[in-house]
């Protein structure tokens, strides 16, 4: 049996027992947490409506494929599937935009396909870089950000290459 099918039920049981052992009202805690989860969803839904519309339009027009084909020689060399080209550019700028592109890729190719998995791992292993930098440095009154942006973008690029590499190494080939 696949270990990850065991992960979910075992983790639930462990967290429930561990919480009870620590005297936490786990039922209250899970309801409160679920409420926070719902709040996150309500925050992303309106953004996703606009963005998924644009992403679906781009895909249907054929522009997305063209973009992937144009970048294919470069991306092939890095081991990144060209289908994910648009993700590389939206991911550092907009979290909801990347979620829109990623879920379109997973829906079109299947969540358990090579491209679907690479898109999922890319989403899971990178952040909305520019937003994070703006929030952190903005709140600290820093306007000379020096090398923070190039270093962070280098980490993002590594994350994209590593996502495709990790799926090929640990799960499946293209």
């Amino acid at each position: 049996m696949d270990y990850s099918t065991l992960l979910v039920p075992l983790l639930l049981a462990f967290v429930a027992l561990f919480g009870m052992g620590k005297g936490v009202n786990v039922y209250d805690a899970i309801s409160k947490g679920a409420e926070e989860g719902l709040a996150i969803l309500i925050r992303i839904l309106p953004a996703l409506v606009g963005l998924m519309t644009a992403v679906y339009m781009l895909r249907a027009s054929g522009a997305m494929d063209l973009f992937g084909e144009l970048l294919a020689p470069l991306l092939d060399r890095l081991g990144i599937p060209p289908e994910t080209a648009a993700m590389l550019f939206i991911r550092p700028v907009s979290g909801s935009g990347a979620l829109a592109i990623g879920s379109e890729l997973m829906a079109a190719h299947g969540p358990d396909s090579y491209i679907g998995r690479v898109a999922a791992v890319m989403l899971g292993s990178t952040e909305t870089t520019f937003y994070t930098i703006a929030v952190y440095f903005g709140s600290a009154g820093v306007h000379r950000t020096r090398y923070a942006i190039p270093a962070a973008l280098l980490a993002d690029l590594t994350g994209f290459v590593a996502a495709a590499f990790a799926v090929r190494l640990l799960m499946q080939g293209p």
């Binding site: 923070a148 980490a155 994350g159």
Partner: protein, 192 residues
Amino acid sequence: MAMAWVWTGMVVLSVAYGMLNGTIGAVGNAAMEGAAAAVQLCLNMAGVMCLWSGVMSIMKACGLMDGLSRLFRPLLGRLLPRACKDPETLAALSGNVSANLLGLGNAATPLGIQAVRRMAVGSGGRATDEMCLLVVMNTASIQLLPTTVAGVRAALGSQSAFDILPAVWLASALSVTAGVIAAKVFSRFWRR
């Protein structure tokens, strides 16, 4: 405002390319489909997202976040030695890292901001090497359970929504390492 340009660009590009390519009919249908897909996706992933947020909040109530924080102090002391001399900054930093690991974005950001503000005192609006390193570590996502992505995969009918975990961990670890090395190398010659 930046997103307004990106969004307008995406829409105008699809219409223009659709006209050229003769796919404009499909573009119109796709616009409707996309909007519906967004709501459908959110509804389908709502259950998983709420469940995991709930589990995370139990973990937080159990003091798991504080436990993780203590675990990270030695590593942080080595990466950010100057900031960690101040115990309150160290507490905020280790809280920030452990909240990120547990995927508690709402808890991680205020702690990170608190740390970076303390580190910024007397820097005159110039990011120090340690501040750059902290921000780079925060832009490279390090999350033990990427629940949003797992929610999307489950919503789209994945056989095992969490089977990507080892791949996510490996990719995150490589990306954080690359970020830290890049920051260390840049700090050598980026004097301004």
